[in-house]
Symmetry: C2
Subunit: 115 residues, 2 copies
Amino acid sequence: MRIGELSERTRTSPRSLRYYEQQGLLTSDREHNGYRDYGANAVATVQTIRSLIEIGLPTALVKEVLPCTVGEKSEAACPELLARIAALREDVRSRAERLKDVETALGSYLEANSR
Amino acid sequence: MRIGELSERTRTSPRSLRYYEQQGLLTSDREHNGYRDYGANAVATVQTIRSLIEIGLPTALVKEVLPCTVGEKSEAACPELLARIAALREDVRSRAERLKDVETALGSYLEANSR
DNA sequence: CTTGACCTTGACGTTGATGTCAGACTTTAC
DNA sequence: GTAAAGTCTGACATCAACGTCAAGGTCAAG
């Protein structure tokens, strides 16, 4: 599919799609005319990318965790990468925990102020 | 306390402290010479602000939830504000959930690739 | 009274994830 | 064939949350 179709199906601007590609998060073939040509899995990939970015991960981190989310066994699972991923996971866990705390605080506030 | 002391005690740059004040997140009195004068509670306030920003909330949202985190009953708990806070809470909950998902995905990846 | 540390405001620089626009080519519809 | 719509690259614009620097006021120490 071309960039316009992918853009519609993921509700993501062509500009962002090109940016993701430039950052190495997304790949595409090229038609004879130079137009980008995406496979069907691109839709899922873009949705994952957007989720990760939306929760606050910078593209550099997204690039690292992206291969992990497809759930395949990687060939080059060197210990360094595993350690990096583990640290990332801890970072994410910490963020989630603090968000949970904020949610709880907001909940308490709501309860205390709903009569 | 002056801005230098608050800066040290919160490990936050004076620039950021002034920025928070400009955004309406932080208040200060002024000494006769124009120097900012912070109360003791400013330390806790700044730490809360930094936590919220660090987990990805923009200052505009921080400004809204900040009064809720001090846990006092607000006088002006109009229904609109409560609805706004409830929506915020839902947003935060959603973010936390997706972060949890990412953490789980990373955990699965680590488990699958640790021998 | 001067030096140095601290404070002030104001302005410009930076980074990440885009928006937007220009200029050119391709494809599609008529 | 011509116009409209889609795509390309490249460049400049934006926004938040700062960093950094300039020019000047304040104050304790020598």
